[in-house]
Amino acid sequence: MSSPRIGVATTIGVWVVLAAAPALLNEWRMSQLAQLVSYGIFAMSLSFVWGQTGLLCFGQAIFFGIGAYVMAMLTKGMLHGWPSGTGFGLLAASLVPGAVALAAGPLMFRGRGLSGAYFAIVTLAAAVIVERAASHWDWIGGFNGLLDVPPLRIAFGGRQVDLLDTVPVYYTLLAAAALVYAVLLSLERSPRGTVLRAIRDNETRTSYFGVDVARYKTLSFAVSGCVAGFSGALFATQFGFVSPALIGVPLSTEVLIWTALGGREVLLAAFLGALLVRSVESVLSGALGNYWLLALGALFVLTVVLFPAGLFGRVLALPLPKRMRQG
């Protein structure tokens, strides 16, 4: 067992490297990295609901996709009477998926709720339904999706300026990632976060302590939905294009792989898992072709069987909060 202090040092180190990345990489690589950051935020959302609360969600891309679609439709001005600014778009793209999760939570967790495996299968089926529905719903572009989503806009000296240069875009995304990280980490380390991990480790016992398990699960699911939607919105502004591919099973599977490979129980590990898999993919998938996914699948199985903590989980694990350390 490595000393928990190493975790603090490596965590700070990772953020420093991320902040210094523009000095190390060329323009093209920077724009790639900026896109990966939004995937990284997405992976953190899954790490929170799965790694902390123990809810293995096979439909996480539903929230990512809803966020991306809401952002696209608002900023393209498809919804008359609603503001089309970036700020409102990001807010709505986080709140709508969060509300969906908040509404779905009680249905799944109240009373004799769904157990772990059933939850996985139900979310998988839900992802299939939503993907099918999105590809046949003409109002949101059907199978082709929505093109020409505007980039991020910021108010600058009283004017609205499109954020197009690589480095400002990267720093905006990195700031968003840092914000999400700070919020989720403080939730994890609060007493409520301890309750979430108690539910993950033994749901029955936790409920005997008088904890309203369904309520905690619902809230965790909703927070995760918000974050996933937020990352989807950021992704839509960078990619400029949303399609049913963002909302269904394939992306839900991918985010599971990133999170499991990086380390499901540590936010930053999941974040790095997304960055690592995606950047290795962009380098190797050309050379390996179809063998890339074969290798990734095999690596995923190996990680699950041999290193359940993930590749980065051990080195980035932070020490327990002070109140929980013993003398």
């Binding site: 293995l56 495996a117 299968i121």
Partner: protein
């Protein structure tokens, strides 16, 4: 009237294939408490066995025997190499088998290409039923499913091996203390379930376009069947597949296949929510 009869036969046909997939899944789940997410890909491999045998010049009937045998071997291998290492970590069995499903699907894409393959119908006749001509091959599938499902029920409820298997399902530590080799039972179960999936894939191959995505199309209805019917007994699987396959066929004959999928999945999720133990499950 004729239309109703044809729809009923189509529903029975879909149910037959789904039942073969579901039986394997429910036995593995009941006995080993493993959610086998790679089951759809075992079905897929069964269908591709037919393609492979066909390319090698063998007949369809040979493939029909080769597929379950080969798949039982692959199932044994999966169990030995991966699944047995994660038995004690329930959620990780889902992930590990999901990873295996990715590997298998990708291997199929590499070997056979991503495009759909066609398998010629081995029984291209039509059978007159109540004035309508119904494809003979579809009737053959029903017969196979009936036979195999019947044999599985007999195996589980009328033999010593089945008794031992049901003992392991009911109480694993107790069965083990009574001298049942649970390790061997697990191997046998996984191989048997995989073989059933392979058989299902092989019999369905001539009816479907055989492509690498066909596995998940059967996996989710099969899972929903188990959850709707109840995972405790084989009868639950029978009830679940009847409901899911029947509803899918009826809705898709009225509207489209897409609407059928969306409607049936949504209703199934609601039923699972209302009856977490399944329709046949006892309330705890």
């Amino acid at each position: 009237m004729q239309q109703v009869l044809i729809t009923a036969l189509d529903a029975t046909n879909f149910m037959s294939a789904l039942l073969l997939v579901t039986l394997g899944l429910v036995i593995i789940f009941g006995l080993m408490n493993v959610i086998n997410m790679a089951h759809g890909e075992l079905f897929l491999l069964g269908a591709y066995m037919v393609v492979a045998v066909d390319r090698a010049g063998g007949s369809f009937w040979l493939a029909l025997f080769a597929a379950p045998v080969a798949l039982a071997g692959i199932g044994l291998l999966m169990e030995e190499l991966v699944v047995r290492h994660v038995y004690h970590r329930f959620i990780d069995t889902i992930l590990a088998t999901w990873g295996l499903s990715i590997v298998i699907k990708q291997a199929v894409i590499i070997l056979f290409g991503p495009t759909a393959q066609q398998v010629s119908n081995p029984l291209p006749h039509a059978f007159p039923i109540a004035g309508a001509a119904y494809p003979a091959y579809r009737l053959f599938i029903m017969a196979v499913a009936l036979l195999v499902a019947g044999a599985t029920f007999l195996l589980f409820y009328r033999t010593n091996l089945g008794l031992a298997a049901r003992a392991v399902i009911a109480n694993r530590p107790m069965a083990s203390s009574l001298g049942i080799n649970t390790r061997r039972m697990d191997r046998f179960t996984f191989a048997f379930g995989a073989g059933l999936a392979g058989l299902a894939g092989a019999v369905m191959a001539p009816l479907m376009s055989v492509d690498p995505q066909m596995g998940v199309g059967f996996l989710i209805p099969a899972f929903l069947s188990i959850l709707v019917g109840g995972s405790g007994t084989l009868l639950g699987a029978l009830l679940g597949t009847t409901l899911i396959a029947g509803a899918s066929t009826v809705v898709s004959s009225i509207w489209t296949q897409i609407i059928a999928q969306v409607v049936v999945f949504s209703v199934a999720i609601v039923v699972i929510r209302l009856f977490p133990q399944g329709l046949t499950g006892s309330r705890k």
